[in-house]
């Protein structure tokens, strides 16, 4: 069996580990445009922050490819696939496959902005190379303008906060981290970030760049030396789309990570699957999902059936020591608790927990995540107790015996 994997992120690594759980021998070829050993992209902000280095950023140890018998083609770009002959055409030649995984991820999306092309120092914040280039452009006096107050934009802001003089963030949304936080929660985080010297221009956008200045829709102007665009990403779907596979915003996959093209799978940020909380088909561009989709794809490619139907939004992020965790969908009734160092919202509906936002004391939040993932009926547990304090106590003896005692009921 010949496996070909396009991509070198967590989905690709998950696929390798998934394949090898079942098939120790089949040939695996990995094609990646980036020339680097697999590394963790979210770590690039920590690299700038000095909390990690290139060595420690490696997502898997140096021997990983060799230990798993992977033939690696780094710095090679996959250009198209031929689903009939089952080959991948790359800029270095054709590679045949029996099973193909597209784990090509996404690329920055930059909306059309007047004068953008003329901005001299402009960067994205997606890759290791992006991060290195950005950091080289910074001096302690540099004023940085970040377009986008989402996860990427703000992690970038945190990452460079010690390397530059000033940071301004512009976002069209009325709050920061609009994709994961509600208004109140966002305010909590925003306050903390402002305390670290950041400026926010929300419900606003750039009308025009001119000289070292951005003029906003609201009429405000921001002077800057370096521009970072972190508005959003676009899934890399063209390989499948061109081969006639179904795509929307991402490559459509089922619970087995199969695309509509025979023997072609997709996983990670380029794939669009079902959100187990909402039931909607969407891209869940999150590392845990990417890995688990990749692993599921790998197993299925190696002939071991098994679905991954537990994809959901789940985020853990921190800025300057303020931690927040979120998961699921913010729908239904709300349990709200706010106290010293704690902001907690639990969303529940139809006898199940739908989602949560917790800022501050995030200990044991995984118990809530599991309840969302497992659709634990709230009527079967002491919900009041668990709202206050995530523990195994509300689950009852029998369930605990399964969880802690290995007892199979």
């Amino acid at each position: 069996m010949k496996y070909v994997i396009i991509g070198n992120g967590p989905a690709a690594i998950g696929a390798i580990e998934g394949i090898r759980k079942k098939d120790k021998k089949g040939a695996i070829t990995l094609i990646s445009k980036e020339p680097h050993h697999t590394y963790s992209r979210p770590l690039i902000s920590y690299l700038l922050l000095g909390k990690t280095d290139e060595e420690r950023m490696k997502y898997r140890p140096d021997g990983f490819y060799k230990d798993n018998g992977v033939d690696v083609m780094l710095g090679v770009t996959a250009e198209s696939i031929d689903p009939v002959r089952q080959t991948v055409k790359t800029d270095k030649g054709k590679v045949p496959y029996d099973r193909l995984l597209i784990a090509a991820g996404s690329r920055p999306f930059i909306p059309p902005m007047k004068g953008f092309d003329a901005v001299e120092k402009k960067y994205s914040f997606m890759t290791l190379d992006d991060a290195k280039a950005l950091s080289e452009a910074l001096t302690p006096e540099t004023r940085v303008l970040i377009i986008g107050a989402g996860l990427i934009g703000l992690k970038c802001a945190e990452g460079i906060s010690g390397l530059c003089g000033h940071i301004a963030v512009v976002d069209l949304a009325d709050r920061i981290l609009s994709s994961i936080l509600d208004r109140e929660a966002a305010a909590v985080v925003e306050k903390s970030l402002r305390e670290h010297g950041m400026e926010f221009y929300l419900s606003d956008s750039v009308e025009e760049f001119k000289g070292g200045r951005a003029r906003l829709k609201s009429g405000k102007t921001i002077e800057f030396d370096v521009l970072v665009t972190a508005v959003g990403v676009k899934a890399n779907i063209s390989l499948v789309k061109d081969a006639g596979g179904a795509c929307e915003r991402g490559i459509i996959v089922n619970d087995h990570m199969e695309t509509t093209v025979t023997n072609v799978y997709a996983a990670g940020d380029c794939a669009q699957g079902t959100d187990c909380v909402t039931g909607q088909s969407r891209i869940l561009a999150l590392m845990p999902n990417a890995y688990m989709q990749g692993e599921c794809a790998g197993r299925n490619m190696a002939g071991e059936p098994g679905a991954f139907d537990r994809a959901m939004a789940q985020n853990a992020i921190g800025f300057f020591g303020l931690h927040m965790v979120t998961a699921g969908a913010y729908e239904g009734e709300v349990y709200f608790e706010r106290g010293e160092g704690l902001y907690k919202k639990l969303f529940y509906r139809d006898d199940r927990l739908m989602g949560y936002i917790i800022i501050g004391d995030i200990r044991r939040a995984g118990i809530y995540t599991a309840m969302i993932r497992d659709r634990t009926p709230l009527s079967g547990i002491d919900f009041e107790l668990i709202c206050k304090d995530p523990s195994l106590l509300p689950f009852g003896k029998k369930r605990r015996a399964e969880m802690l005692g290995g007892v199979k009921n």
């Binding site: 898997r60 853990a316 965790v325 044991r364 497992d374 106590l393 802690l404």
Partner: protein, 142 residues
């Protein structure tokens, strides 16, 4: 594979496991001097409720969500034991969001800590098990 299992029927809520864990992972020579005045942060924690008590520590899942979720590759499985490489942990706490048992937790320095079955202390039986006075925590194949 041998794992730590907890039978709450026999848990006395004495919290010795917590102290034994904290001591074992401290690398200290003597518990009294090592833990004197220390607010311990054990990898196993006793939960208590109405007439119920039991200890919770990492289950060392076969299919561990924490490892899959770890964005930095800091968590890994070595011979079935889920270990944390603290130097690679960047304190994102994705693992905490992933763990259904609440068994992964931030340590004092911010990196996550979790039960590693005392493999790094090289004492064989995990300290919580060895010190449990009532066999409520066992280390065995199931």
């Amino acid at each position: 594979m041998k794992r730590v299992y907890v039978n709450e029927k026999w848990c006395l809520g004495c919290h010795l496991c917590e102290y034994n864990c904290a001591f074992s992972n401290s690398g200290g020579r003597d518990m009294a001097t090592t833990l004197m005045g220390v607010n311990i942060r054990p990898n196993i924690r006793v939960e208590e409720g109405e007439g119920v008590c039991y200890a919770v520590s990492c289950r060392h899942c076969e299919d561990p969500l924490c490892v899959k979720g770890c964005i930095g590759g800091a968590l890994s499985i070595e011979d079935g034991v889920i270990e944390i490489d603290k130097s690679k942990c960047i304190h994102c706490y994705t693992c905490i969001v992933m763990c259904p048992y609440g068994a992964v937790m931030p340590s004092e320095d911010g990196a996550v800590q979790k039960c590693e079955l005392c493999v790094k202390t090289k004492k064989g039986t995990p300290a919580c098990v060895a010190g449990c006075p009532n066999g409520a925590i066992v280390f065995e194949e199931r």
